[in-house]
């Protein structure tokens, strides 16, 4: 199967799962944004998704995409380290055009993974999981209150968002380059679109997290 036993095939898997995850994050932040306008609307979305069959199918596909992306990430990085060999340069200079993120995708991914672990414990384990188990789930707003009532939640989330921002600013155009859709003109365009996409999505996540923290610590009252 060329998707597993050729370098380009493996990169295609990375690229397609990565783009899918970006799409998921985009919907995720838009749904969170609903809470900015009123928690009752947010509750409506939580209820609509809940543990219905379509939400479960969606979650399963999402989890599958994540697992593939992560397995291939470690696999590719391991192969790359082997190809690079053990001898390091005494002196090496990074050309100015090389993005820092592009050389640190695994590290950024691992930071994202840690952040996600916490995030799933704080929300998924309290909302969808109990419902699947036939128990009574916590309401979305209560889960938000519990998580963002802690002062340490916000800084951890902001670190996670930063890592994702770096990961996506490179990942976005890299994914289009990988699936063969780029050329000299479009590399610049994809880089520009990716930068804005990552900035808007991550900026919105950050605004939401800051708002929830202020709201649930009674610092602001709206």
């Amino acid at each position: 199967m060329w998707l597993t036993n050729s370098s380009v095939g493996r990169k295609v898997v990375m690229s397609v799962t990565g783009l899918f995850l970006i799409l998921f994050l985009t919907f995720h932040t838009l749904m969170n944004a609903v809470a900015l306008f009123g928690f009752k609307y947010y509750e409506a979305i939580c209820e609509f998704l809940g543990a219905n069959w379509y939400a479960l199918v969606g979650t399963a596909i999402l989890a599958g995409g994540f697992v593939l992306h992560i397995i291939f990430a470690f696999w590719l990085t391991f192969q790359n380290r082997k190809a690079r060999g053990n001898d390091r340069y005494e002196e090496s200079a990074k050309p100015a055009s090389v993005e820092w993120a592009s050389q640190n995708m695994l590290v950024l991914g691992i930071i994202v993974l840690c952040f996600m672990g916490l995030h799933l414990c704080q929300f998924w384990a309290k909302m969808q999981l109990p419902e699947i188990m036939g128990e009574h789930p916590q309401s979305g707003t209560d889960a938000l209150a519990l998580a963002f009532g802690n002062w340490w939640t916000l800084p951890i989330y902001l670190v996670g968002f930063c890592a994702l921002w770096f990961h996506i600013t490179h990942g976005f155009w890299s994914a289009f380059q990988t699936i063969g859709t780029a050329n000299e003109k479009w590399i610049c365009r994809f880089k520009c679109i990716g930068w804005w996409w990552a900035t808007i999505v991550m900026g919105l996540f950050a605004i939401e997290a800051i708002y929830f923290t202020l709201h649930f610590n009674n610092i602001i009252n709206c």
Binding site: W2, S6, S7, R10, N80, E90, T181
Partner: protein, 251 residues
């Protein structure tokens, strides 16, 4: 007067593929700035021979930027600090009086050191042998109007064909990937009608050979294109991916 400079040169010395290597520092006095980098190494080697020591082994041939043999990693850059130039096109005026210049071989698992600054780039020949050619007789040159090729395609094919197979792209890559080289070799044919009949077979065979030889997976860092002496463009890699994916989907 800055017409001649004196400096230290720190060179990687390694007696053989399996030997342990180390750096040696040599002092160079009053080297005219018009000396090319390789001529400077020739001067150093003459001095070493006079002192009864082993000269430094390094690859070179044409000394005019067309053969791709020269391959030194100088002060942290493959082919040194100049852009769009090979090591043999580098002159001492790029360096300063009193500086220490670090010279290393390409370091990548697929390019093992043979001796000192010389590495084995046979892997590139093997990739080329796997499909980097047109296997049928294309006949004599046709009338120019018989086979119209757009100026854009002709230019791009020509640019890709300027790859000299030096391996700087692999040397620069943190993933030890040969994608820029392979993409240039695939693109120079994929863009032209003469290359089209064998395009699918070629891209599959060359890529398979590249993977087999243990080169890494490209993460699109772009260090290769930034360091390439022939300024081969990164977009070639996307074309290689496109050619490969289409060939595989067609199977």
């Amino acid at each position: 007067m800055e017409n001649a400079i004196s400096f230290n040169i720190k060179v990687w010395r390694q007696a053989g593929p399996k030997e342990q290597g180390r750096f040696e520092v040599y002092q160079m006095q009053d080297i005219p700035t018009d000396t090319s980098f390789l001529e400077m190494l020739d001067i150093l080697n003459e001095q070493l021979i006079e002192q009864g020591k082993e000269p430094i082994a390094f690859d070179h041939d044409c000394r005019e930027g067309i053969c791709g043999m020269c391959s030194l990693y100088i002060n942290g850059h493959p082919h040194g600090p100049a852009t769009g130039a090979t090591t043999c096109q580098l002159y001492m005026r790029r360096f300063h009086d009193g500086e220490t210049i670090t010279v290393e071989p390409w370091r990548s698992a697929a390019f093992p050191v043979i001796r000192d600054l010389m590495v084995n780039r046979n892997a590139f020949d093997q990739i080329q042998q796997a499909g980097g050619y047109v296997s049928f007789n294309t006949g004599g040159a046709q009338d120019a109007n018989a086979l119209p090729i757009s100026k854009v395609d002709a230019d791009e094919a020509m640019d890709s064909a300027s790859c000299i197979g030096c391996g700087a792209c692999v040397a620069a890559c943190k993933n030890g990937s040969a994608m820029l080289f392979v993409s240039a070799k695939v693109s120079q044919f994929a863009l032209l009608p003469q290359g089209k009949p064998e395009a699918a077979r070629r891209v599959k065979a060359m890529l398979q050979k590249m993977d087999e030889l243990g080169f890494g997976n490209c993460t699109n860092t772009g260090a290769c294109a930034a360091e390439c002496p022939k300024q081969i463009k990164l977009s070639n890699i996307s074309r290689l991916n496109r050619e490969y994916i289409c060939a595989k989907l067609a199977d």
